[in-house]
Symmetry: C2
Subunit: 343 residues, 2 copies
């Protein structure tokens, strides 16, 4: 079985575990039209459920019943949806997962509120976890989850701040520091740590898992940067060249800003200073062509591949003593999956 | 000492207890410019700290050291600030507490993110409360707090939905159902319940406190509706006639819609259909004059007074067996204070 088939297969398995539990945390009551229907809409259009799957897989790989980890897994999916709803408002994105974004559909005020509700609801499965996990482990996981959310918000602040102030002198280290906070912490590091905490009742080597999570998450995000520029319309479910319209400091853009000629850089900085609605198709196409000409997309692909190699090494260290299972195979296969995926 | 002097005096006392603890929950680290400085700015301009004060006073009135309740009190102030930041974006408000609102200052994306951070941070003092309160009471308070936040978000959804769909056939019962969720739950009911839970280690009559909290909170909100229409510029710290610019379904507006002549109602419904930026000073002045002419502001004052009488009765029931203290006197004086205050 190829890495990709293993991943798809296991993702479907974890999703089938997750689905009913996730459903049970979406209130079906009033106010329906202005709140809970909007949440069901957002969560119902969920993607791969990557974060909960990493959590369930890690728990199972360490030998425990993955259902023990359903609370933390649901919490992750709900807070991910909360982030997406607010991200889309902040970025002015019109499309997500092939549909209109929530604020494009119901307006910014109700969408901000729906995001707040999802973030609040994300705590509930953890408050309920005590009967499965005991009070001490539950309190520990609540603290880790809380720290994870706040770290993600810090990463988001940095990224939004760079765009607001049109910061253009960024290196790969700045990018990785931001992505560690914004993406890795909740996408990979927290799911791995919590899966291990539950799977081993607190005896896992969390430092090694954190390193693996950082490399895996960074490779994932950089591939995301690449996919934004290389997926045709519709294929990726988001706006094409969406990051360029949003002025996102992606690895390709950071590379281009450092590599292009002064006259190009001057025009690029002007482009980045514009508001999203001022960016024309022609200007975006020009930046895209510049990224191709300067090898910036290729550079990002190479960075992702290099980081994925570091992920493989740290995987071996983190899961050294763990016997082979489908769950472990899934976690190993994720490394290739995140840099080879096309959506 | 008058009711108002008692309230002011005790508010200052509770604020002095709250201040250092609140400060200790505001991170002083990076990202400073794009996140933590913005939080300090919002929280630093805090108002009366009414919610934490009710919490501390109730705990003390039931005979416990109010400092036991500092965690829940800080949580309330932080989540209140989180609500205000997102409310101001949703309402398009430019002024708050005599200053530019956060989004007017730094833009909507960073302000949404700062609100998310405040909401997240509000859980931290409760996660830390175990050493003071024990694990069982802490878990109980966490669940009450979580329920309170979600209920507030439900109330906000209803109010935003009414404005979005220009719902004009509302009665006082609809208004009170919304205000119970949006205002009372976190402003009065939760502070009273948690103060009592901590103060009595769980033996208080929470149902009686909930009734008192509902009447007190509703009187507070209706007086807020009145103040919005009667405070001169600057006096109230917000935009003058801000609720009219926002199209808020206040008690005076609900009364006016039911009482005015058909031709006036038709024009009023047209006015309410406009976006905020389309509402002119002249049109707002016209609605204001209509409210005066139909006695709608006077009607709201009378409703607030009537509800405050019910609050006094339920206060006597809730605190029947509690010995007289400055803290109890403060809680009793709040009833007159909320309907007599001018800011």
């Amino acid at each position: 079985m190829t890495a990709s088939a293993t991943v798809d297969d296991q993702l479907a398995h974890y999703s089938s575990l997750l689905g009913p539990e996730l459903e049970s945390y979406l209130p079906r009551c009033e106010p329906d039209r202005y709140l809970y229907r909007l949440l069901a809409l957002s969560v119902g259009r969920r993607g791969k459920a990557l974060r909960p799957s990493i959590c369930l897989a890690t728990c199972a790989a360490f030998g425990a019943d993955p259902r023990l980890c359903l609370g933390p897994a649901v919490a992750l999916e709900l807070v991910h949806d909360a982030f997406l709803v607010h991200d889309d408002i902040q970025d002015g994105s019109e499309r997500r997962r092939g549909h209109a974004t929530l604020h494009a559909d119901v307006g910014v005020p109700l969408a901000i509120n729906a995001g707040d509700a999802l973030a609040t609801l994300s705590f509930r499965p953890l408050l309920d976890a005590e009967s499965r996990l005991g009070s001490s482990l539950t309190a520990r996981i609540l603290r880790e989850f809380h720290h994870t959310i706040l770290t993600t918000i810090e990463g988001q602040a940095i990224e939004l701040g760079w765009r607001k102030d049109n910061v253009c002198d960024l290196g790969l280290d700045d990018y990785l520091g931001m992505v560690l906070r914004k993406t890795c912490c909740y996408t990979t590091i927290h799911p791995l740590r919590v899966g291990a905490l539950v799977g081993t009742r607190g005896r896992a080597d969390l430092a090694a898992l954190t390193r693996f999570g950082f490399f895996l998450g960074a490779a994932f995000q950089i591939q995301d940067d690449v996919l934004d520029l290389t997926s045709g319309p519709g294929g990726y479910g988001k706006d094409t060249d969406g990051d360029l319209y949003e002025g996102k400091r992606s690895v390709p853009l950071v590379h281009l800003l450092a590599q292009c000629r002064p006259v190009e850089r001057h025009a690029l900085v002007q482009f980045l200073r514009l508001d999203r609605w001022q960016r024309t198709v022609e200007a975006v196409d020009w930046v895209h062509a510049l990224l191709v000409a300067h090898g910036s997309i290729e550079f990002a692909r190479n960075v992702a591949t290099g980081i994925s190699r570091a992920a493989t090494e740290s995987f071996d260290c983190a899961f050294r003593a763990v016997p082979p299972t489908r769950d472990l195979e899934f976690l190993a296969a994720l490394v290739d999956f995140v840099v080879e995926r096309s959506s």
